[in-house]
């Protein structure tokens, strides 16, 4: 049984349809890369999965349970955690306090503060510092750690590299390396196609709210993804990618 099942999802802002008829299933342990230009609907989709955006039509099932109308905090308790775009840490609290808040849903598992600090060693000496005073890389690590503290079955990472220098992004992915190998189901948004194809088992490319391409990374190519990214395959005139 798939861990996450999305059917005909339609998410709107007023009259604007940000996500149109999106459907896909994710198997346990799969790593899915979500790719697409800004405004393609990636963040809206992920926030709808996490319960931050209301769903206009369609359904989302987690481990067989219908979570479409569930408020976000109950989805966390059900095993779905989102690392939101822009980190969204609680700036007037310390790293440790932010991490502890991640435990609120009360799920048991391997992830606790010590394990998070092991995974992101650059946080150790800043443990009691206010997150508002930290660098982007440290904030990103804290945000991921905070989501991990809820011991999710499926972890969603929205724009991990946003606003971070390439070196720092490398560091973050290095830390994530262990996580990626543990068999946690992961959805990640990544603008860097090379990295996405290296890290992920499967890639979905979105354009204007729709799924343009959904394929295992081994079955597709950079070119095919790029075409889907820009919607080239729809154009009548042939332009080489």
């Amino acid at each position: 049984m798939s861990i996450l099942s999305v059917k005909d999802l339609d998410v709107r802002y007023g009259q604007f349809r940000a996500v149109r008829g999106v459907s896909f299933d994710i198997a346990r342990g799969e790593i899915l890369a979500l790719v697409g230009a800004n405004g393609a609907g990636k963040t809206t989709l992920l926030r709808a999965l996490a319960g931050a955006n209301p769903v206009y039509a369609g359904s989302v099932h987690l481990n067989g349970t219908d979570i479409t109308q569930m408020p976000s905090h109950r989805r966390v308790a059900a095993g779905l955690a989102l690392v939101p775009e822009g980190r969204r840490l609680f700036l007037d609290m310390t790293i440790e306090e932010n991490l502890s808040l991640g435990r609120t849903a009360g799920r048991d598992g391997e992830w606790d503060i010590d394990r998070v600090l092991e995974t992101f060693p650059n946080l150790v000496k800043r443990r009691h510092a206010l997150t508002g005073t930290m660098s982007g890389g440290e904030q990103q690590a804290t945000a991921i750690g905070r989501a991990l503290m809820s011991n999710p079955d499926i972890l969603i990472l929205d724009e991990v590299s946003l606003g971070l220098s390439p070196l720092v992004v490398d560091q973050v992915y290095a830390s994530l390396d262990g996580l990626l190998k543990t068999g946690t189901t992961i959805i990640l948004v990544e603008q860097d196609l090379t990295r996405a194809m290296t890290v992920a088992d499967r890639v979905i490319c979105m354009l204007e709210g729709r799924v343009q391409l959904d394929s295992a990374t081994t079955n597709t190519s950079r070119d095919a993804i790029t075409d889907a990214y820009f919607g080239n395959s729809r154009r009548k005139e042939g332009l080489s990618a």
Binding site: S72, P84, S150
Partner: protein, 302 residues
């Protein structure tokens, strides 16, 4: 002079008590509850009518009123404020103002125009005093009220800083959507915060009745005192509220020294002066608490 100062500090204790609920709601939920004063008067009436009908001491009836008011706060948040906040910053002001009018007039309808007091129910305590060196007397009740204010502010402050619930409330205040994404039940946290605020309001209502008299329309002046104490103290921390409350009381006493009608004016003018000073420093939140925090070592390290 010392006596005036001491009496002001004690009066400040009462102001701090009634202000801390308002400040808490504002800090935590970004709502200014214009029904705050009216809720205090509702509590005072509840404590009074229980004491009147059962003959039990107001201190004990207060214990019964506190949870009732807590529940009222919870309902207020879930049934009304949640909705109002979605309509923008201004709507909660209008909604709570409407509520204040409804409460004030319902109380008038129910209890009439007579002023009431809790003092008759505590016997000698209403006038007993501690004797201090130098032939100075401080009333026991005002001292107890000041002590309660300090205790409650201290407890709230500790709760917000050290407990999981406090962190959840702060997180919900800072960013309710992200709080939900992290697993916090934001609506529940907001409801609990509102309940805590109204429970402190219940205590301040009893203090109001014990210190003096109240009637159905006493809510508005209490609201203004609470508001002025909060603004003078700065909205950054709850301890600032205590400082602001004492400053307000001192200003009022000074005003009364200058002119027989000067009591209230003194407080209002102090409020305006603080406002001026704050705006003169270009909108940077200037407050007593801020000033103190700059001067103490821990503050300077920030």
């Amino acid at each position: 002079m010392i006596n005036i100062l001491l009496q002001s500090v004690l009066l400040g204790g009462y102001y701090a008590l009634i202000a801390c609920g308002l400040a808490f709601m504002f800090q935590v939920m970004k709502i200014i509850n214009l029904a705050h004063g009216s809720l205090a008067v509702v509590s005072a009436y509840m404590v009074w009518s229980l004491a009147e009908t059962t003959g039990v001491s107001p201190f004990l009836t207060l214990l019964a009123v506190i949870p009732v008011m807590g529940l009222a706060g919870w309902l207020l948040q879930r049934a009304m404020l949640e909705r109002a906040v979605r309509g923008g910053d201004l709507l909660p002001v209008l909604t709570t103002f409407g509520l204040a009018i409804v409460l004030d007039n319902l109380m008038f309808q129910q209890f009439g125009a007579n002023t009431r007091s809790l003092a008759p129910y505590v016997g000698d305590l209403s006038w007993e005093a501690f004797e201090l060196p130098g032939n100075i007397y401080v009333g026991k009740l005002p001292v107890y009220i000041l002590v309660s204010a300090i205790a409650i502010i201290g407890a709230l402050d500790l709760m917000l800083k050290r407990t999981a619930l406090g962190h959840q409330i702060r997180a919900t205040a800072a960013d309710p959507v992200t709080a939900g994404l992290v697993g916090i039940n934001a609506r529940r946290a907001a409801g609990i915060a509102a309940a805590i605020a109204t429970m402190t309001v219940a205590v301040s209502g009893a203090a109001l009745g014990l210190r003096g008299t109240f009637d159905a329309y006493a809510g508005s002046p209490q609201l203004l005192f609470a508001f002025e104490a909060t603004i003078i103290g700065g909205t950054r921390s709850l301890w600032g509220v205590l400082a602001g409350a004492i400053v307000l009381a001192i200003a009022q006493s000074l005003g009364a020294q200058i002119h027989p009608q000067g009591f209230l004016l003194g407080g209002h003018l102090a409020f305006l002066v603080v406002l001026f000073l704050r705006l003169a420093s270009h909108g940077r939140p200037w407050s007593l608490a801020g000033l103190i925090s700059i001067v103490t070592p821990k503050g300077a390290a920030r």
